[in-house]
């Protein structure tokens, strides 16, 4: 896939990299994997909770991990948080009957649990600060790129992640769900427990706050790397 600069198509985001298919133990391109829908996962969960749950982890591991990494304090380990959220989800599912599982909107339900775990970690962290690890951004190291440019991009991503963490909870959740993990507004509304219009305005306010954090009110295109560069040069 070779999209032009600045146009990394939404539908092609998961093209790079290989993923292990645990059922068969073979490596296959992610693109070849049938996208497992919520309905399909529900069906599998009803049929065999543990087999269905493994499919659920495969399908939404990346989403859960990203939501944890971008909403929890950076001192927290996103993998620990995501794993804890999945275990909570499993323990809840063990108590649900088949009818309740069939009605479940799996992804927003799971994301709600991740946000709860993340919020608890935030509370814990303010009470008991501890050293931690920083999740790397998911940017493949491209060849032929200037090292300084890569460093600048990484620094800009860290800066953006920090601004994102500093947003009010609802805006932070709305922006992460909409723009980092690409959830539709209907699911974001379900997660936040509000109307779609309200969810949309949380996203919009969050974006506006991020732009303001960079000291610019420009709408539309905003290259954070360039902004970061300018700020350095004015120091």
């Amino acid at each position: 896939m070779n999209a032009g600069p600045g146009r990394r198509g939404r539908g092609t985001r998961r093209d790079s990299g290989l993923q292990r298919n645990p059922g068969r133990g073979v490596l296959i391109g992610v693109r070849a994997l049938k996208v497992t829908s919520d309905d399909e996962i529900c069906r599998q969960l009803v049929e065999d909770l543990d087999v269905g749950f493994a499919a659920l982890v495969e399908a939404y591991g990346r989403t859960a991990f990203s939501v944890a990494a971008r909403t929890a304090p950076e001192t927290e380990d996103a993998e620990d948080l995501a794993a804890e959220a999945f275990l909570r989800a499993y323990r809840a599912l063990r108590r649900y009957d088949a009818a309740r599982i069939r009605q479940l909107r799996v992804r927003p339900w799971l994301v709600t649990i991740v946000l709860n775990v993340s919020r608890n970690a935030r509370r814990e962290a303010t009470r008991r600060p501890r050293a931690g690890r920083l999740p790397a951004t998911d940017e493949p190291v491209a060849q032929g790129r200037e090292a300084s440019e890569l460093v600048e991009v990484a620094a800009a991503a860290d800066e953006l992640a920090a601004h994102l963490r500093a947003l009010p909870a609802k805006q932070r959740a709305a922006v992460v769900l909409r723009h980092v993990v690409d959830l539709p507004l209907s699911e974001i509304a379900a997660v936040l427990g509000c109307a779609e219009g309200t969810a949309r305005s949380h996203v919009a306010r969050g974006l506006a706050a991020l732009r303001a954090a960079y000291g610019t009110a420009t709408t539309g295109a905003l290259p954070p790397a360039a902004v970061a560069g300018e700020r350095r040069s004015t120091r």
């Binding site: 070779n2 999209a3 600069p5 600045g6 146009r7 990394r8 985001r13 990299g17 292990r20 645990p22 059922g23 068969r24 909770l49 543990d50 087999v51 749950f53 493994a54 982890v57 495969e58 591991g61 990346r62 991990f65 990203s66 990494a69 971008r70 993998e79 995501a82 794993a83 999945f86 275990l87 499993y90 063990r94 999740p135 790397a136 951004t137 998911d138 940017e139 491209a142 440019e149 890569l150 991009v153 800009a156 991503a157 953006l160 994102l164 922006v175 992460v176 723009h179 980092v180 993990v181 690409d182 974006l207 732009r211 539309g220 295109a221 905003l222 290259p223 954070p224 790397a225 360039a226």
Partner: protein
């Protein structure tokens, strides 16, 4: 390839999505397998954090084992697609200490007991009082017995190597017959230990080195029976000028 510099805030945010670590599913979902052991098959369950449960297998018992695992740990478990490296050899040869264990949920005392037990070499036995002394709780002999009775990973964490100092094998979750079968499969000199105990001998030494050992210690077993000297306790050995073996670490303590 994505551009070096994101063209918009939305694009920059999209790049903050992070991949979950490799094999993240194994962090959440436990695996289990049936492994051939010296005294029958064993079900073993593990996650990336280590082995957390084992049971003696029974015909068609896998589903029950998986169900008990889920009940106890609240975690999904599936049959392993790939064997845990080193597991089969560790079970077959009695080298459980070469594997990692996840003992979360146990008390600090229980963990200490199991760790001390894991250090007992294959082919040897130790009294309950020895384990109690090893963990610095010499008076907690009965509690050691209870903790070993709750060992979640029998065979691999070799609680079968902790025996009564009267020379009998003592209690075992899988039944005393399994305990004896496991010990005999490891070539423990059970009959000799029992025969010595019947004569009131709990320690043996050799005049050449003036070192005193537990009777199942490999160093003690290298000594010819004719040049062996038996002791009732370490005080008796000490006054005869014998020092305790550094390998089997015989310890003064109450009998159990």
């Amino acid at each position: 390839m994505s551009p070096a510099v994101p063209s918009s805030l939305e694009e920059a945010l999209r790049r903050l999505e992070v991949s979950s670590p490799r094999d993240f599913v194994d962090r959440v979902v436990a695996r289990y397998a049936t492994v051939a052991g010296p005294a029958g098959d064993l079900y073993v369950a593990w996650t990336r954090a280590g082995i957390s449960l084992a049971e003696f297998a029974s015909p068609g018992g896998e589903a029950g084992f998986a169900a008990r695992y889920r009940e106890r740990f609240g975690r999904p478990i599936l049959p392993a697609a790939n064997p845990l490296p080193g597991l089969a050899a560790a079970v077959r040869r009695g080298h459980g200490e070469r594997l990692a264990y996840d003992l979360a949920g146990l008390s600090a005392f229980e963990v200490a007991v199991l760790q001390a037990t894991l250090a007992i070499p294959v082919g040897e036995v130790r009294p309950y009082a020895w384990v109690a002394a090893e963990i610095g709780r010499p008076r907690a002999v009965r509690a050691v017995g209870s903790a070993l009775g709750r060992n979640p990973v029998p065979v691999l964490i070799p609680c079968h190597r902790v025996t009564r100092s009267d020379g009998t094998v003592g209690n075992y979750g899988g039944g005393p017959a399994s305990k004896e079968a496991l010990l005999r499969a490891e070539q423990v000199n059970l009959d000799e230990v029992a025969e010595l105990a019947a004569r009131g001998v709990h320690y043996v030494g050799t005049p050449t080195t003036r070192i005193v050992c537990l009777p199942s210690c490999k160093d003690a077993r290298r000594v010819a029976a004719s040049s062996r000297r038996g002791f009732r306790d370490l005080t008796e050995a000490g006054s005869a000028g014998y020092r305790p073996c550094l390998r089997c670490r015989p310890r003064p303590g109450r009998s159990a």
